[in-house]
């Protein structure tokens, strides 16, 4: 019974695929999976916009949306209708073909990442041998889409936003990949499915999630910081800094194309969060091996973790102010990159030391000590200090 | 099924396109891109020969393609750096106008 509930979507798909002729079965199976992924994550996008507005509102002691439907729950539908019915304006000097292709490419690229995310037990679109590499390769397509949007608009704000976005995405892609390499080292595989399978075992009641090791924890935090920057979320939202460059690279977009950019950005954020869950938080596995927890279906755990990470994203957005460009770059190259490199070493030492408290002590100190040293050095160099306004009084 | 021949023909076509680009374009950056295309054509050959070759388990073709991709990346970085430096010097990337070695 538990098994059946856990595999209900897989079984349903098999049953549906069995209805069509044999020749069309692979195509039908692929279409079903892709449609399911698009529908589920587009719905999650709608829920997240509501959650974000509500959460941010409450953090600022406001109500948030509360007019459309109970608790404003129908607000995403109203937003969608609004953006669909708005006039689609294309600047007359814009490069029309590229201007049109940019949002399409962005959404397509951000959706492609889901192909290798294990959403539940046996619920992955393709179990690629080089799944993690595929994920990052597809992620690099987003930079191109951002550039196309910024360049084709023929607007200074768009171009500046695109430049900022690309510089930021390239700088943070390095720590993003390096932070995930520790997991690949430990798991000995680039396949997302086998990475999750490795974590879905328990000793006692404790799971073998990689986040419960010194290098895993450090890697997770670094990965999340880099993921925040990669998805252009606050406090790294310089590419769309409203007070400086209006809306960044999608300044010249309106109506549904603007909504597509929004969708692409959120879908990309979910994808990187999903990757963080897969790599560090045990994918679809339950946090403890109590029978009542493992009875809960695997996809539920995945989405629970995903929602938790989204809430952390919202929480951080409600807390932190936007960084300056030099602070952003300094953080990437002077703090996060050395930390990820050291983390690689820590993971290697962890692998070769015998299990015990000594291993914890050595690896823990290898994470904590450089972190303190690097941050005190950054503070000393006043790179992250409060900005002093020389000319304003 | 695809034959080795079709892949080789495709790669030679790519090579010729890259070569034509190198020979006829005036923009230095696009010339560099033409060279990248020629390298890509060579990579297709490596992979095709690995796939259809007698000993695919040795992975020689794959290795060669991997190394060639990284060399190409390094080449692109250095080449574009050189083009930027040349641009700063002569204020143009037009190869027909960059006709003096004197600084």
């Amino acid at each position: 019974m538990t098994q059946a509930i856990d595999q209900i979507f897989v079984l349903t798909k098999h049953w549906l695929v069995g209805l069509v002729p044999v020749g069309a079965q692979p195509l039908c199976s692929a279409i079903l999976s892709v449609a399911a992924i698009i529908i589920v994550f587009a719905t999650l996008f709608a829920i997240t916009t509501w959650l974000e507005r509500k959460g941010l509102g409450r953090m600022q002691n406001r109500y948030g949306p509360n007019r459309v439907g109970p608790f404003g729950l129908l607000q995403p539908i109203a937003d969608g209708v609004k953006s669909l019915t708005k006039e689609d304006i294309v600047p007359i000097t814009a490069d029309h073909a590229v201007h049109f292709l940019a949002p399409v490419l962005l959404v397509a690229a951000s959706l492609m990442g889901y192909a290798v995310l294990p959403i539940g037990r046996n619920m992955v679109l393709v179990n690629l041998n080089a799944g993690v590499l595929y994920f990052f390769a597809v992620g690099s397509l987003m930079e191109l889409a951002v550039f196309m949007a910024g360049w084709s608009s023929r607007s200074k704000y768009s171009l500046l936003g695109a430049m900022r976005a690309i510089a930021q995405m390239i700088s943070y892609e390095v720590p993003l990949v390096l932070a995930s390499i520790v997991v690949i080292m430990q798991a000995g595989s680039l396949s997302t499915v086998s990475i999750v399978n490795m974590q879905a075992t328990y000793s006692g009641i404790w799971p073998h999630w990689f986040v419960f090791t010194p290098w895993g924890f450090a890697g997770f935090v670094l990965f999340m910081v880099a993921a925040t920057a990669e998805s252009n979320r606050s406090p790294f939202d310089l590419p769309e800094g409203e007070s400086e460059i209006i809306a960044g690279y999608y300044t010249e977009y309106s109506g549904f194309k603007f909504a597509l950019f929004f969708l692409g950005e959120y879908i990309g954020m979910f994808a990187t969060s999903g990757m963080a869950i897969t790599l560090f938080l045990g994918g679809w596995s339950a946090p403890f091996s109590f029978s009542f927890l493992t009875w809960i279906p695997s996809y539920f755990w995945f989405f629970a973790k995903l929602l938790a990470l989204i809430m952390v994203f919202i929480w951080i957005r409600g807390t932190l102010p936007r960084l300056r460009m030099d602070q952003l770059m300094n953080l990437a190259w002077e703090f996060i990159l050395p930390m990820t490199l050291l983390n690689l070493l820590t993971a290697g030492i962890w692998h070769f030391m015998p299990a015990g408290s000594l291993r914890w002590l050595v690896c823990g100190s290898m994470v904590v000590v450089p972190c303190i040293l690097l941050s005190s050095r950054m503070k000393h160099k006043k790179k992250l200090q409060v900005r002093i306004y020389h000319y304003s009084e | 099924m695809n034959s080795l021949q079709s892949y080789l023909l495709l790669s030679s076509l790519l090579f010729s396109i890259g070569l034509a680009g190198v020979l006829i374009r005036r923009n230095a950056i696009l010339v560099l891109i033409g060279i990248e295309l020629m390298l890509n054509a060579a990579n297709i050959n490596f992979i095709a020969f690995w796939r259809f070759g007698p000993a695919p388990s040795a992975l020689t073709g794959v290795m060669f393609a991997l190394f060639s991709i990284s060399v190409a990346a390094a080449e692109a970085a250095v080449g574009l750096g050189i083009i930027l430096a040349a641009y700063r010097h002569s204020r143009t990337t037009d190869l027909d106008q960059m006709n003096s070695l004197k600084g």
């Binding site: 590499l133 390239i170 | 495709l10 030679s12 790519l14 891109i33 970085a77 250095v78 930027l84």
Partner: protein, 166 residues
Amino acid sequence: MTVSFLILAVLTVAGTAAAMGLRNAVHCVLALTMGFAGVAALYLQLGAQFVGLAQIMVYVGAVAILAVFAIMMTHSPESANSPVFSSQWSWGCIVAAAVFAVLARAICSSAASAHVQPPQPDATVQQIGDALMHRYVLPLEIMGLLLTAALIGAVVIAMDRREEMK
């Protein structure tokens, strides 16, 4: 020839031909990324998953972006009206066509190229990693050195030295 190969071949050739023929340099690079993606798909079709994904990551994610940046940094308004092709473009075309003719003739006449496809060999990441760490460890190290040298060299070449000259 299968349909998928034909589609990918057309995509690749169209992308690269557009990259070499279009007027606007940024359009050229965008068309080129299509060609690179087509090549990557060809690698995937040939069963070299790792190489195909590395191709997307390196060429689409890095080289194309780099080229676009370089084009935008070297863009000058007067270059918009100057001719795209060099003065001896007809000679270039003839040479390229001749090269293609020779290559195509050689390929078609070769007996070795009539091979049929052997069964899919597996090039898993594990195998590639093993090969890199055992048989090809020296080239790997040299590659690392080369990339480091290229990194430093590119920075040094592209660095603006006006500050020092003062």
